[in-house]
Amino acid sequence: MAKLELFGTAGCQQTREMREWLEWRGDHFVEYDVEADVEARRRMRTLSSGQRTVPVLVEDDKVVQIGWQGRGCIVGE
């Protein structure tokens, strides 16, 4: 089974919507809060060529989606 990871933040509406969608699909995924988790933030940056929009959905270490339906929140340094 593919490994799914969701990088987002606690306050981001789009992160919430992507989470709800993944849950509704019944996917198993791991979620990281990149504001609280420095290591996750670093990994997200590396995987998605330095960009800072969340949510980011990663499947087997490959970015499959940035933002939710075209909208996203930007995380600070």
Binding site: Q13, Q14, E17, S48, S49, G50, Q51, R52, T53, V63, V64, Q65, I66, G67, W68, Q69, G70, R71, G72, C73, I74, G76
Partner: protein, 760 residues
């Protein structure tokens, strides 16, 4: 005795509104006062009930022609017995939301004065009145009063004071008013020699233009480089000195009669040409003007809009002038004298310089009448800084747009102010112009950075994205490029909830999956968001960003999936070495990225039809292809099948290559390609709309500047009961992105209205 307190909002400052109110109050024998405030105009009136009613009736029925009232709020007040009627000094509060009037062309009355030898302002190049003249380009801050304009350095003489203070005069409270005795002048500079005095310097400039020289002319919102459009040597010299190889130049025709001689003007185009914004209008060329618009059947024409332009033509300047914004290729237009002298010295033979400073750069606007009505390709002078629409949000939002054809949008109290055209954010001067425009907008509307929601594109490497991170904003958000295009159209119509099919085609934009998009179909609404439902079949573009500059490189990417092709390095294709290099990159899988770009698909087809050189401006190959296709009349189309998820380009390009190889006329092939694209897109639209019960399709993105594509789509969708919406107020190209970003962010948390509409 009764009293009314009236607030008028909209474009009501700098358009002679207070003098109008003054006269109306007098006519109805009402006492009270009128003043400008940050939200518009405030009026207090007292008198008989019938006089008050008649005042309100006339206020609604016949406001000044340049005013654009958005709202009139009337409430009853206690009479205080003021006795007479006064124009009061302006008041200033926090967050002004007055709309500053855009610059206006010189009016018929001022033109009469300008050429009347008995008039005090005979041949005075800065003549204006409350109905016409500079506004945005001279406004330093709000409220709009003389001391807040670039005319503050010139004190009015007795004559001008008398007119300025006479309610019966059309220069009553005309802020930039002046005359030859008290106001600024023009002078001409050639090398170290200076000709003083407006009249001699304008006559001299006209003579130089007639002799085939290039003159830098200071206009309303910046400098133009002017030369005789019918003099091929002059135009060629301008191209060489400006480093502008092929991009068409705009021309200014002396009057509508001359314009009709050089282009075919429909009634609608003529209306656009003579509209108050006086934009450059793209129309089909009639006369051959060598070097002005090479490889292009269209010509950008405008009419004189300042008194200076009229004086130049009246003093013997050629009747059609190239008038191109004064900059080196791709840099922002020069508007400060020292900067212009320094930057333009190698280009211009002479400088016609006016003493009135320009408050900010404002380029000429560009518009056309298209298949779906008038559209704006560059929104600047005459339109900016007019509010485009009102968005239901109270948050101050700053949207930074995209990196090409950049504009920014500031939303204050729901009003969306789209900036003037800034340009491509490729180099330092453009980035500075970008920053200046933002600072200017924020200062004008007194918005602090820390209150802002700052919105940028999702592209991590965009200069505007990197700039966004530098803002000490309250909150940051990002919006995907192609959805912003679709949202810009819906915003123009205030359609927040409407569920539509959005077709977003352009050259480049960062997609949800980190790949480059550009041929996208979405279903959804601004409020609920847009789901990507279909797209152009993916291709791998070799060589990174260079694929946008070399059509053969894009061709290599698409054609890698097409089999049975003739040898493309042989005649008639003669693809250069770059094509084979690109193929090598693809095989090795290095410096290549996945793309669904419709813009690149047009480039690939152009390459197959002979455009194998580098493009010298954005969209050039696609424009070349469209012009070529327009010369043919055939109606056949290459197949461009839609399978419910993807538009498959393989048969389309196979058809083009086969027919070219077997010697079919290139114009016919171009036409069949264009028709093929339109048919495939129309099929996709019909099928998605029917599957998802949609009755409206929105088209946006740079590819929809292709008029032939729009005409074909209109034709193919005719009778299908699908409404087609396109951009009318902001450009369909990336100039409209900032508006779309602003509205998408405003609705980001689904809580724009007080109810906080829940997300299902």
């Amino acid at each position: 005795m009764n009293a009314f307190s009236i607030k008028v909002r909209g474009v009501v400052q700098g358009v002679g509104f207070r003098p109008f109110v003054f006269r109306l109050a007098h006519a109805n024998t009402l006492a009270g006062w009128v003043s400008n405030d940050d939200e518009g105009v405030e009026i207090f009136l007292e008198g008989s009930e019938s006089a008050l009613k008649s005042f309100v009736h006339e206020l609604r029925a016949a406001p000044p022609s340049a005013a654009d009232i958005s709202e009139i709020e009337i409430s009853r007040s206690e009479p205080v017995g003021v006795g007479d009627f006064q124009i009061r000094e302006s008041r200033s509060e926090q967050h002004p939301t007055t709309r500053i009037s855009a610059d206006l062309p010189v009016c018929a009355d001022c033109l009469r004065d300008l050429f009347d030898p008995g008039n005090r302002r005979y041949r005075y190049p800065y003549i204006n009145c409350t109905n016409c003249g500079p506004r945005f380009s001279v406004t330093l801050s709000l409220p709009y009063d003389r001391q807040n304009t670039t005319m503050r350095e010139w004190a009015l003489d007795e004559f001008c004071v008398a007119e300025y203070s006479d309610p019966g005069n059309r220069r009553f409270h005309a802020q930039p008013v002046a005359c030859g005795a008290c106001g600024p002048e023009y002078f001409l500079r050639t090398g170290d020699a200076i000709v003083r005095g407006s009249d001699p310097s304008i006559r001299m400039a006209s003579r130089l233009l007639a002799e085939g020289k290039i003159v830098a002319v200071k206009g309303l919102g910046g400098y133009h480089l002017a030369c005789d459009a019918r003099n091929a040597n002059a135009v060629e010299a301008l191209r060489e000195r400006k480093f502008r190889k092929e991009k068409p130049f705009a021309v200014m025709a002396r009057d509508v009669t001359i314009a009709r001689e050089i282009v075919s003007l429909s009634a609608e185009s003529e209306r656009l040409l003579t509209s108050p914004a006086r934009p450059i209008v793209l129309v089909k060329a009639k006369a051959e003007l060598p070097q002005v618009a090479p490889d292009c059947d269209e010509l950008g024409v405008m009419l004189p809009y300042t008194p200076l332009h009229h004086l130049l033509f009246a003093s013997g300047a050629p009747d059609v002038l190239v008038m191109t914004s004064a900059n080196r290729s791709s840099e922002p237009i020069a508007y400060e004298d020292e900067d212009a002298l320094a930057r333009l010295a190698p280009i211009a033979d002479a400088f016609l310089i006016g003493e009135r400073p320009i408050a900010r750069r404002v380029d000429d606007s560009v518009a056309r009448v298209g298949a779906f009505g008038p559209s704006i390709l560059r929104r600047s002078r005459g339109y900016a800084p007019g509010a485009v629409t009102t968005i239901p949000t109270r948050r101050p939002i700053l949207a930074l747009g995209a990196d090409l054809k950049n504009t920014v949008t500031l939303v204050v109290n729901g009003q969306a102010f789209v900036s003037q055209h800034i340009g491509d954010l490729g180099d330092y001067p453009s980035l500075r112009a970008f920053q200046e425009t933002i600072d200017d907008l924020l200062a004008m509307y007194e918005v602090e950075q820390d209150e802002l929601l700052v919105v940028c594109d999702q592209h991590p490497q965009y200069a505007s994205t990197l700039q966004a991170q530098g803002f000490e904003a309250k909150e940051h958000a990002s919006v995907q490029h192609h959805r912003a295009h679709i949202a810009s159209v819906l915003t123009e119509r205030c359609e927040w909830e409407k569920r539509v099919l959005g077709v977003s085609f352009d050259g480049t934009g960062y997609g949800d999956d980190g790949t480059i998009w550009g041929g996208e179909f979405f279903v959804g609404s601004i409020a609920r968001g847009f789901e990507r439902v279909a797209h152009l079949r993916r291709a791998v573009m070799p060589g990174g960003d260079a694929a946008a500059q070399f059509p053969v490189q894009a061709a290599a990417g698409f054609l890698a999936q097409v089999s049975g092709l003739p040898n493309l390095t042989a005649v008639p294709f003669s693809f250069p070495q770059r094509f084979e290099d690109a193929q090598t990159l693809l095989r090795q899988g290095v410096r290549s990225f996945t793309s669904t770009s419709m813009g690149r698909l047009f480039d690939a087809a152009a390459a197959l039809l002979g455009f194998t050189r580098v493009v010298s401006y954005e969209g050039q190959a696609a424009i070349w292809l469209e012009q070529l296709a327009r010369r043919a009349t055939n109606v056949d189309a290459y197949a461009f099948p839609f399978d419910g998820r993807e538009l498959d380009f393989r048969l389309l390009l196979y058809g083009v290559a086969q027919d070219r190889g077997s010697g079919r006329a290139v114009a016919e092939i171009g036409r069949a390609f264009q028709r093929g694209v339109a048919s495939g897109v129309a099929d996709a639209i019909t099928s998605i709309c029917s599957a998802r019960s949609l009755d409206t399709v929105v088209l946006s993105g740079g590819v929809f500047q292709n008029e032939l594509l729009l005409c074909d789509l209109k034709d193919l969708l005719n009778g299908r009961e699908i409404a087609v919406w396109t951009n009318h107020l902001v450009p369909t190209n990336d100039g409209g992105i900032s508006l779309g970003q602003a509205v998408m962010a405003a609705f980001q948390n689904h809580a724009v209205n007080t109810e906080g509409a829940a997300h299902a």
